[in-house]
């Protein structure tokens, strides 16, 4: 009895000490004076939902924000972009995460949710879609858009196809059938990958773009983790996944040659493409048009947005939403992306993002 009492007391004392030291590291002492991303903390509670592609980034950001600002609770449910936009339009959430900018069909409902003004798309998390493969003996692989389209349209079926060999001089490509994997569930990754194919290889890729895979052949797997699992267990396979999943599964990834030389699938090269995207939205709406034919950056990228009200967000959610998005678009917030296998927003585009966030008001 006495021993357990003592140990209980010791444990309590430890917890107390830890709590005290945690307060000290905040640099302000107490919730009121704390800062995050160069701005004062805001307390309160908001809900958000949507894109599962930005789930890990959100988890990291929310963790950092709530650690620094003890009075804040942010709840992000990664239930998919479609569901996220619906939740936002129904007024259940303060902002939605989405793999694509608001569609014309969804815009009226989203605008109506904002008491004054319109809903805006703010690009926040970039990503690279990589071609991960599992072919023994091939450490380096270069693919052109026509070859990628050929593989996924099933017109190129062998690894030693002359079209693949032409881009990979000297590589010992095996005489094996290509096992091609795509997503079996509806996904923004498929949407962006097929957008790339329709933009760069229209003569080979004749299956249109969209969240659902439309080409015949190949094998479907559920989720990016499902694809990487299948790739690892299947020899001579190739599939498209987000960069972080390929890294986690330690799969080799192909470089892409858009006609200006092979470009490696790295976070930095993808950032070049995203920052060069043109803004298609008006005012503070930053819906982007990505140039998939770029020769200077890694071309297969996706941008996920936060969708919220420019004006007229309910007062309970307004301050915390604005503060949280200010943090995520700060240098501190964006630097967390690269650590997690995402792609940061950079350059002029980041300046525009910050302007849009600062325009959020009652």
């Amino acid at each position: 009895m006495t021993i357990s009492r003592t140990s209980q007391f010791a444990a309590l004392a430890m917890i107390g000490a830890l709590a005290l030291s945690a307060c000290g590291s905040d640099g302000g002492g107490g919730a009121s004076g704390s800062t995050i991303g160069g701005q004062p903390c805001v307390s309160g509670e908001i809900k958000a939902s949507g894109s599962s592609a930005q789930k890990n980034a959100m988890a990291d950001w929310i963790n950092a924000y709530q650690t620094a600002c003890t009075g804040a609770t942010i709840n992000y449910q990664a239930n998919g972009s479609g569901a996220g936009v619906t939740d936002f339009s129904n007024g259940q959430t303060a902002f939605a995460g989405s793999d694509s900018a608001l569609k014309d069909a969804d815009r009226p409902a989203a605008d109506a949710r904002c008491a004054k003004g319109a809903a805006i798309d703010i690009p926040m998390v970039g990503g690279a879609i990589v071609l991960a493969y599992n072919v023994s003996g091939i450490d380096k692989l270069v693919l052109t858009p026509d070859v990628i389209a050929g593989i996924f349209a099933n017109t190129i079926t062998k690894w030693n196809d002359p079209a693949i060999a032409a881009a990979n001089a000297g590589a010992a490509l095996p005489d094996a059938t290509i096992a091609q994997f795509h997503r079996s569930d509806s996904s923004g990754t498929t949407d962006n990958f097929t957008k790339f194919l329709t933009a760069t290889a229209p003569s080979v890729w004749t299956y249109d773009k969209g969240k659902d895979w439309k080409a015949p052949g190949g094998q479907g797997a559920k989720g990016s983790d499902g694809v990487t699992t299948s790739l690892k267990s299947t020899a001579n396979s190739i599939g498209y996944v987000e960069l972080s999943f390929a890294q986690d599964a330690s799969l080799a990834v192909a470089s892409v040659d858009n006609g200006g030389g092979a470009i490696e699938a790295t976070s930095a090269n993808a950032a070049t493409t995203i920052s060069a995207a043109t803004v298609a939205g008006t005012g503070n709406d930053l819906a982007l048009t990505i140039d998939y034919t770029t020769k200077t950056g890694y071309p297969i990228v996706l941008v996920t947005y936060e969708i919220t009200c420019e004006k007229g967000l309910d007062s309970a959610a307004l301050e915390l939403t604005k503060s949280f998005l200010t943090y995520t678009s700060s240098d501190e917030g964006q630097s967390k992306l690269t650590e997690n296998g995402y792609v940061a927003i950079t350059g002029d585009l980041l300046t525009k993002v910050r302007t849009s966030v600062s325009a959020i008001s009652a």
Binding site: G82, S184, Q219, S233
Partner: protein, 329 residues
Amino acid sequence: MSSTRELPATPAPTASSGIKGKSVRRGDTVFRGLSRIAGIAILLTMSLIALFLVWRSIPSFTVNTANFFTTSEWFPDQTPPVFGIAALAFGTLMTSIIAMILAVPVGIGVALFISHYAHRRMSAILAFSTDLLAAVPSIIFGMWGLEFLTPHMQGLGQWLNDYLGFIPIFRNDLGQYSKSIFIAGVVLAIMILPTISALSREVFTQVPRGNIEASLALGATRWEMVRQAIFPFAKPGMISAAMLGLGRALGETIAVALILSASNSINWHFTEPGGNTFAANIALRWNEAGSTGLSALIASGLVLFIITLVVNVVARGIISRHAEFRGGN
């Protein structure tokens, strides 16, 4: 069944005193009321679910530009919307049929062995393990099917193609044997096996001792006894066991969603990747579906609901036709 037979033994308390008898009668009224409410609640729940499905699926029927019953493609959110349940119905029925072909004989065999062949201790262990199999969550079966079974089915698929390839359902022109309707069917078979065997076992143990002993006394071997005494008595129970299993197979979602390659096309080569089912399609598309997409998925859910209802009604019909055997002795 056994409980109804025990009922006549209960009027003991009424015999002791008149006052006590009254209080029991009041309890009877309360209990009758409660059970009536429970019964009505079931009917109400069913009809409300049906109403919800019809109500929410109407918007998609009005915008669909293709035939809902004969189209295989599923693109409800594109303009114009094109979607239909042909491939889903095909995949759902085929995976379930494969599962039934594999699971019903094995399940009944397991039940017979436990109830009439195995040593008492052995049968207790076996009964316990089949019940345990029923408690394994379906996502575990899905992961096992995807990560373990799929790579190991290559050889069997190849063998079927090499020796039975002249039958279309065993032919494989792709040389890929993973993520197929066949593998999904095998996993479903394992999932419904405990349901079928546990229920059949219950029925087998209720066969009146007299029937069995009479059959054996007439000089029947054990197998003849099973055919003469056990099967006729247990037939309705075996059918409902199989139907409950079929119900689970038709509606199984996540395991199938993980295993199938999920292409919405009708392919009779069962060992090739592809195929999709109602439930798996809903699981795979729900999160990213737009308003028409959600409505279309609910419409497909309505069809599954009706199929399950029809299966159960048919099963009821078969059982009532064999009802004369239920009395046994």
